[in-house]
Symmetry: C2
Subunit: 196 residues, 2 copies
DNA sequence: AGGAGTTCCTAACATGATTAGGAGAATCCT
DNA sequence: AGGATTCTCCTAATCATGTTAGGAACTCCT
């Protein structure tokens, strides 16, 4: 019975509520800061009770994930655009690396502090040297080597870039000056630095 | 009666306990990550009950502050060392800027996410453009302009530098290769970029 | 010995995320 | 149409964690 009009309407309605919740979450985040976001605030803005949110998201972290997913989609689109001047092959590599790094590190930002998220480029050879990151590392889907980050310089550039981009996205000013400047500079930085 | 031997011993004992608590906090942070640190864990490791910690620290955030204070002291020393090749005046400026930025942003890391902490270099002209940071900004003691950060490039360099340094410090590997490399590169970056 | 201050304790509280379980409405199927 | 099913929201309760209140034991000093 998939494809039935009413089924579609249910899915639509569900999706709309989901969006409504995310919008509320962003509004609260913009108002009080992402760290101060509470389910109570979000629910209130939507016109629900906090537990009801669990009909749409498995947890508060799931809401964070969805939020950063949205932010990242925006970033990626803008970055693709900004990178359009580059030849196809390096552009693809840059975008893929950024995406992988985002999945690796930034998606966890709302739950962890910067220092938990950043990891050493040479983690593999000596795990003991970077104990604080072990837990985070184990959650990750790709190693730094796989992502293509070779050393600390790469790592820091990625941190600055992705951090800045997500920042701008959170600032709800993705079309603004800061965002464009950041993107252009980021693409430049990467092009130079990674030999793209 | 200040300066009395026993008064000193009391102060000593107090200081020792304080250090013990901080050591325990670091141990927990290294084991579980700084974000997952709970007073219960810290107290347990010290051999206390959680409320007893309040005899030595006003709050959990006070513990975080002390931890980052320690980390930063280490960073600053190493940085002074790494910058020793620079002429006195720019070196002083670099160190002061770093210190100011640390106070401004990084000391708050344990309580806020990266995006709450980072602020736009051009915040002053158009506060509306960077709404999420307003709360954080108001807590800050210095404006970016005062610190000497002029644009996004400066801001990102500082983010990368300070983030990396605190990272390394948290990794408990301040003498390690990564740390030295990071410092040297950071000082180089600043010298180049800021025209120091 | 007695008083003062310190440090730790237990008990209680506040907040925020989450779970349990159910009621009512919308939808589906015959 | 009407009963079964599913979905979405609710209230009530639970759990974890930071924090406060208030008191007992210990140390130090005179």
């Amino acid at each position: 019975m998939l494809g039935t009009p009413s089924r579609d309407r249910i899915a639509e309605r569900r999706e709309a509520t989901r969006r409504e919740i995310l919008d509320a979450a962003w509004a609260v985040a913009h108002e009080k800061g992402i760290a101060a976001l509470t389910l109570k605030d979000v629910a209130e803005r939507v016109g629900m009770r906090p537990p009801s949110l669990y009909s749409h998201f498995a947890s508060k972290n799931a809401i964070y994930d969805a939020m950063f997913g949205q932010a990242w989609t925006g970033c990626l689109e803008a970055m693709t655009d900004a990178a359009s001047r580059m030849p196809a092959e390096p552009r693809a590599r840059l975008l893929w690396m950024s995406h992988a790094y985002f999945e690796y590190a930034v998606a966890d930002l709302a739950r962890n502090q910067l220092m938990n998220v950043r990891i050493s480029a040479d983690f593999e050879p000596s795990p003991e040297a970077y104990a604080p990151s072990v837990a985070t590392f184990e959650q990750a889907r790709r190693t730094m080597a796989e992502i293509g980050i070779r050393d600390d310089a790469d790592l820091d550039l990625f941190s600055a870039l992705i951090g800045g981009l997500v920042d701008a996205q959170l600032a709800n000013d993705p079309g603004g000056d800061r965002y464009s400047r950041l993107l252009d500079r980021a693409v430049g930085m990467f092009a130079d630095h990674l030999g793209l």
